[in-house]
Amino acid sequence: MLFLDSLFNGVSIGAVLLIAALGLAIVFGIMGVINLAHGELMMIGAYTTYVVQNGFKLLGDNWFEFYIIFAIPMAFLVAAAVGLMLERWVIRYLYGRPLETLLATWGVSLILQQFVRSVSWSMFVGILLFSLLFFGGIWVLKKRLDFDRLRRPAIAVLLPLSVGIAIAASVLSGNLFKLAFTKPWFGAQGVDVTAPGWLRQGLELGSLYLPYVRLFIIGLTVVCVAGIYLFLQRSPWGLRIRAVTQNRTMSACLGIPTQKVDALTFAIGSGLAGIAGCAISFLGSVGPNTGQNYIVDAFMVVVVGGVGQLFGTIVAAIAIGTVSYLLGSGTIAALVSDVNFLSDFFSFFANTSMARVMVFALIIAFLQVRPAGLFPQKGRTVDA
């Protein structure tokens, strides 16, 4: 009983870790990009869920019960779209320099956090106008043959001009429409995502009580993992992705459209973050800081699993989940309650904060035995 209970709870926690780590494992493990904005992509997924939920609320109770079926793909798409932009504008220039990606994506994560806090219609108008003017302008100029020569002066003129117009328009629209335009869409306060009624209950099996949300997330995680596995290992795109990420230049020379592949991979990783965001919105809060709570744990999972190893990531997530649960819930402390000194020791670690400390110590200890993670990369290129 205790065993089943522990197993279920461990797997529950592990599933959350895993779904949060999955996109990361792809982007980090395959592309070598440390995406610290991964958490914010999850946050975007969660906010998407919120928007979809509100939309369905308007449609009535019957619709509301099924909004998540729509929310999951939406979360994927929105997060993937943001990821795509991120890749085009930032990551693209940083391939092969993982530590730089870490710094740049940190900047992105700050911007995204502030964005959901502040975004309002007038800001939206400003951004829209800026994009139209600036990128539109560049696009028009690109058609001219001497663009290369014009590039610098063009940017020098276009940039301040479009920024100026955009800010003016945004301020003006704010003054014109007042609250309707200046009121933040989401604000700093965080928003509520409520699971449909059927997800808010649990399944009773004898003395075991399994919350449906947890079961749902476990299911979702399994589907995502399977999907990713098939995509990467069985589809031609998977082959291309793996090739490009291992040797970008040579892949290009072989005729693989590397830019497309990069964009696609990053978009998929981001989309998975979006799905994860949708999943966690049923468990926890949805606010500008939501993503920050998951990112470090997700990275630990990837490291312990062994980078680029889907299977390792799975095992690591479940192992970390179970150990955290056993320690944090005091189950271990209870098990060894006969032995005084052990019991004291484990009781000290029997809360969520201290369990984290212990898990870290265990991970360091584990890495002493297996430095490259659970399932290390093999072969002579690893350490070459």
Binding site: K378, G379, R380, D383
Partner: protein, 251 residues
């Protein structure tokens, strides 16, 4: 004392069940210049990997000056006096050739003596001589990352010389070098052989002929045959698996 510098008994290395080296026996005298040839994938590089501690043997042992190397880590083995040049050149790209050489030249490589002891002037002299030897005087102070493939090859040979080990392991030193430079490299190695023990791996038969005294042929992880260059060249097995016969018209 005429102890063998390198002795290898019954060495097997397997990767996931594939035996890259298979029951290999090998031994070498002090001061010998030995050339190892063999088909691609015969296990030559792996052989060097084992000696330098990069790969641990699955079965068998490597004795260097009578010392079993199994327990030691790469840097310890290097400090015993084994130096290596890699198959694809590996130099420190952000250091200049001069600095690359200085690093290899350093006699005491532990942290504190590197930090606290100034570089002795004979070492500095060695470095400038070496720079001339490898023809990189002009580029001595530009980052090594900017060197061409061939220049890096030479730089790495230079680093090996700077390290001045008792046993030099040289993996394809002339790959990508012009004939002239190949010739020079050969001369260099021969002159070195007077005071060092050297193992050279090469596919360039011209070059092998130039330097070789005794040749070992590896095939599928074991020694196929051993002997002087003529013996080996005329061994039908070697011709079959390695040299091939030229059917093409000769210009």
């Amino acid at each position: 004392m005429n102890e063998k510098i390198l002795e290898i008994d019954n060495l097997t290395v397997s990767f996931d069940g594939f035996n890259a080296l298979n029951n290999l026996n090998f031994s070498m005298e002090r001061g010998e210049l030995r050339v190892i040839i063999g088909p691609n994938g015969a296990g030559k590089t792996t052989f060097l990997d084992v000696i330098t501690g990069k790969v641990k043997p699955t079965v068998g042992q490597v004795l260097f000056k009578g010392k079993n190397l199994r327990r030691f880590r790469e840097h310890q083995i290097a400090r015993f006096g084994i130096g290596r040049k890699f198959q694809t050149p590996r130099v420190y790209l952000n250091l200049t050739p001069r600095e690359n050489l200085e690093l290899s030249c350093n006699r005491q490589k532990n942290v504190f003596s590197t930090l606290l002891k100034p570089q002795p002037s004979p070492e500095r002299k060695t470095v400038s001589t070496l720079l001339e030897t490898i023809g990189l005087v002009v580029k001595a102070d530009t980052p090594a990352g900017l060197l061409s493939h061939g220049e890096k090859q030479w730089l790495e040979i230079g680093m090996l010389l700077a390290q001045s080990p008792d046993l030099l392991l040289v993996d394809e030193p002339v790959a990508g070098l012009t004939d002239e430079e190949t010739l020079l490299t050969g001369e260099l190695l021969v002159s070195l052989a007077e005071s060092h023990s050297i193992i050279v791996i090469e596919h360039d038969m011209e070059f092998v002929r130039q330097i070789a005294r005794k040749v070992t042929v590896l095939h599928e992880g074991s020694v196929l045959c051993e002997g002087s260059i003529e013996e080996v060249q005329n061994d039908p097995r070697v011709v079959e698996v390695y040299l091939g016969t030229e059917e093409e018209e000769h210009p």
